[in-house]
Subunit: 306 residues, 2 copies
């Protein structure tokens, strides 16, 4: 039995450059295409769009930092404004992860439900769940058709779906949204969740998406599942303390994370998306001929200090 | 802030019956439809199709049992025959979980790659990745169209896709498959994986699916992610010991788990699938009008001792 058998499900790692060392020369994998993208195809993410969440260290004493990228206009800007205010007010410091439901979401906020919100938050109307269609700025991915919308693609680095008139962001793995009550204009942005399972696309247009986890999601996705209803933790001891959530711009310059994404208008992205839909690297026998929008995750990478 | 705001992402829990206690009377949720299904709509899963995996207890000393349902004919029967022989030979006892890759797979088997396989395993040809279309036995789910195949539905409780001629099982969350080398007829069944993220549908028809985790997946999905390439654990200390994997029929009668699934030919399943595609329960504003096949998981439940 060779190591390659153990590495078994290896040759198709999600967005990971895989070196099939002794394979015959063949079409590049999606990861290899991303690795080969020229510097000019990468777009810096502004520090002002990054939310930095520090959990209490794990049992081994290791730091747990999660970085969330907030969505740009036109989506969900009312809630995102609230989130900026909550971070500026250090409202989340001392709150906790309260819910981990398998194949669904991790949710955080104030477990006591009594912490006063800062002044100046706005109530956001249901109409902000979607926007007008962004004609001319969107890369259509014809292979990513699906049950949830007639069209899917990416807009400035974000997965979206649209009809003739309306466009909305979609609930892929790691996307971050705003918990709400039954009424659609509830949900201030103080209670947030991220997706840790198969994309719950039925939430699209029913709840506000505000961003995505771009680093450290494993600190959330590997947490013990809650044993209460809907995966809520039942005791304070189970809740994971949030030390702080800050905008990156609130941190000292040297501590600010830096990330960039592969321009979804670049040729590299077009090649990558095609390869995700039609795997031709050595492991594959039968290319799928398509890929759903959540199986074409937009590549994001950390910028290393020089 | 009410508890309902905290419960935020609550009203649409995956296949969980949600009591929207003070909501107006409304259409039932998928979970409520499943709860209301008559006993006659549930089909017992034979003990001979259940694989019982016991991991070493967790750090708190709690037992970790995972139950896998093996697929019936016509799919993957060569590998499933091998798996039955491996379980009968207690081949997995003392092996380990060796790989946990975020949003992808958990994989287990012999980390040393040197453990001799039992006699009598067969080499299975590539042709067994799919079967002839099973006409007349399949429930088509027209709302579950998608990028990966022209048709999706369920066959005797299993998610499948098909063309005019061929049919194959699909890589949804918790499905179990056979690791292999580059050549498609490698992979004995000794190295297995399960999906713990967004459905990697590009693996369909490229690797053999043999079953699904029907209980205890949280013991796998919440494991620490491996820090080696492709999520492999880098040290023996990180690997999670497998105490045993047995067919349920190898266990004493009293210790045999019992499960049943909602007949996918029943009226209850039809209602459930429609509700998954068109959420009309109180939380929802905009029903999706469709759901991908992996968002219509076939309900499975434990049979409680009487």
């Amino acid at each position: 039995m060779t190591h390659r058998l153990l590495a078994a499900v290896a040759a198709f790692a999600l967005a990971l450059p895989v070196a099939a060392k002794d394979a015959p020369a063949a079409a590049p994998s999606p990861g290899e295409i991303v690795d080969a993208a020229p510097a000019a195809d990468w777009v810096a993410i502004p520090a002002s769009d990054l939310l930095v969440m520090d959990l209490a260290p794990d049992v081994a004493g290791k730091a747990r930092r999660i970085v969330i990228q907030l969505m740009p206009a036109p989506f969900s800007q009312g809630w995102i404004g609230n989130i900026r205010k909550l971070a500026a007010a250090r409202w989340w410091d001392g709150t906790s992860i309260n819910r981990v439901q398998d194949n669904y979401v991790v949710q955080w906020g104030d477990a006591t439900e009594k912490k006063a919100l800062p002044d100046g938050l706005v109530t956001v109307p249901e109409s902000e769940y979607l926007s007008q269609r962004q004609r001319g700025r969107t890369t259509w991915l014809p292979s990513a058709n699906g049950a949830y919308a007639p069209h899917h693609g990416v807009l400035a680095g974000w997965p979206v779906a649209w009809t003739a008139d309306a466009m909305w962001p979609v609930h892929c793995y790691a996307m971050v949204g705003v918990g709400r009550n039954l009424s659609p204009d509830t949900g201030s942005g103080a209670e947030l969740y991220t997706v840790i399972g198969h994309a719950p696309r039925h939430l699209d247009r029913n709840i506000a998406l505000v961003g995505r986890v771009i680093s450290g999601i494993e600190h959330l996705s590997s947490l013990p599942r809650g044993t209460g209803g809907l995966g809520f933790y039942e005791t304070q001891a189970e809740r994971v303390p949030i030390v702080s959530i800050r905008l990156a711009t609130q941190l000292p310059q040297a501590d600010q994370p830096r990330f960039e994404y592969l321009s979804t208008e670049s040729g590299s992205f077009a090649k990558y998306a095609d390869a995700r839909a039609n795997r031709r690297d050595p492991f594959f026998i039968t290319p799928a001929g398509g890929a759903d929008i959540c199986n074409i995750p937009v590549p994001v990478r950390a910028v290393r200090a020089k």
